[in-house]
Symmetry: C2
Subunit: 218 residues, 2 copies
DNA sequence: TGTACATCAGTGAACGCGCGTTCACTGATGTAC
DNA sequence: TGTACATCAGTGAACGCGCGTTCACTGATGTAC
């Protein structure tokens, strides 16, 4: 049962609703990425097949293949940033709880969207200098990435101010913490077979955030 | 000046020396990888062009394209493991110095061979279950990876035993430390433009190894 | 010392493939008069 | 209320490309007798 789910045909959009196809293209690209576990699977032709349109139709909405991936990453970074902020806020007033919630949210995001995570942080963008997808530019995407980091930085600073973190430089330590989260998220995707210690998340977060070993966390 | 350095011709090996070409193939693959900054650039035809042989000749030495990359990774993991051991040993008797030397060695390895590092830890092997390159299997490669980790684990345990690390579980903490090193190595390759704090290496290592903030390191 | 032969290292032409991209087009739909 | 027309969304055929891989082969070199 390996059929590729070709949508046979697709009703044409009404005039003025051309942008609907843009959303369909991104959705199809995301599905292909998730299903294949490989960025290579996102080809213009595969995307077109999946929606039930012809391949050249995509050019009405994206300049080229790279632009699709850039737009995908843009959405994903925006979602990550707002999710971290939401998770942090939902954890209540205790700054350590908030920081831990943001870290858990980060790891969960990566675990549930492994292939998307890989294109976000996988180095695709070294070659993407000049690419733009509609109004989306590389600069905007990295800007969204930094918004996510800002959540962590804010929470860590609050921990330090409250005396629950021993960090003396929350801005720099937040970068270090993020690197630990990234290393963990990335390797758990890539080396799922590795015998990870059960409490590895806790271990990485507590050490890098300079928290006292977790007590009284839910 | 974008010529691809085709070696025009190449003297055929004598009988019994067929394995010489195997080494040439791996060297050419490594060069292509380093030059292109992209695993995709390592194609059978590009490798063949570079050495000055015909593409089908490669099949005498490797089962397929994937097998070349596997062999490349195998060599690289072996080099990393022996290098970490050497750096650690060269740092003298102080366990904290040894641990820091191994960490520095790890980061330096990644920084000087960024593309090789990416194929080692980039998740290429999820799909490589059945691949073998000569006697090299996936299991052997991951075994070499764990040898590198064992150096870090040993040094961290020595630090804990000597009281210079507060780690109470060096085996698990070594994994956490490695994850931090990996996150740092990987993102510095991939997001070179990010404004990394100057002391980020020190920050990551000290926190994850539970060392007291460095004093008296050379 | 000579000769037939097996082996080895590597070749050249060809295959089918899916890809990104281009081009000129079609036909429905809204708009101006 | 009707009609010409511009615009918009999407099509179908075709291009050239580099790729992995296959096949039958060539010719040098060592070995057995």
């Amino acid at each position: 049962m390996d059929t590729e789910t070709d949508a046979g045909s697709r009703a044409r959009n009404r005039r003025g609703e051309g942008t609907l196809l843009r959303a369909d293209i991104l959705a199809a690209a995301a599905e292909l990425l998730a299903a294949a576990g490989d960025e290579q699977a996102v080809t213009l032709r595969a995307v077109a097949r999946r929606i039930g349109i012809s391949a050249p139709s995509i050019y009405r909405h994206f300049a080229d293949r790279q632009a699709i991936l850039l737009a995908l990453a843009d959405d994903a970074f925006a979602e990550l940033a707002s999710r971290l902020a939401a998770d942090s806020a939902a954890a209540g007033p205790n700054p350590a709880d908030r920081l831990r919630a943001a870290c858990t949210g980060y790891l969960d995001f990566a675990a549930t969207r492994p292939q998307l995570y890989r294109i976000m942080f996988g180095g695709l963008w070294n070659a993407a200098e000049g690419v733009r997808s509609g109004s989306v530019t590389l600069a905007e995407v990295t800007g969204l990435g930094r918004q996510a980091l800002r959540v962590v930085t804010g929470d860590l600073a609050a921990c330090a101010a409250a005396g629950v973190s021993a960090s003396t430089d929350p801005t720099a330590d937040a970068v270090a913490l993020w690197l630990g989260l990234h290393g963990l998220a990335h390797q758990r995707i890539v080396a799922a077979a590795f015998p990870w210690p059960a409490d590895i998340d806790e271990r990485v977060v507590t050490a890098l955030a300079h928290l006292s070993p977790s007590e009284g966390n839910s």
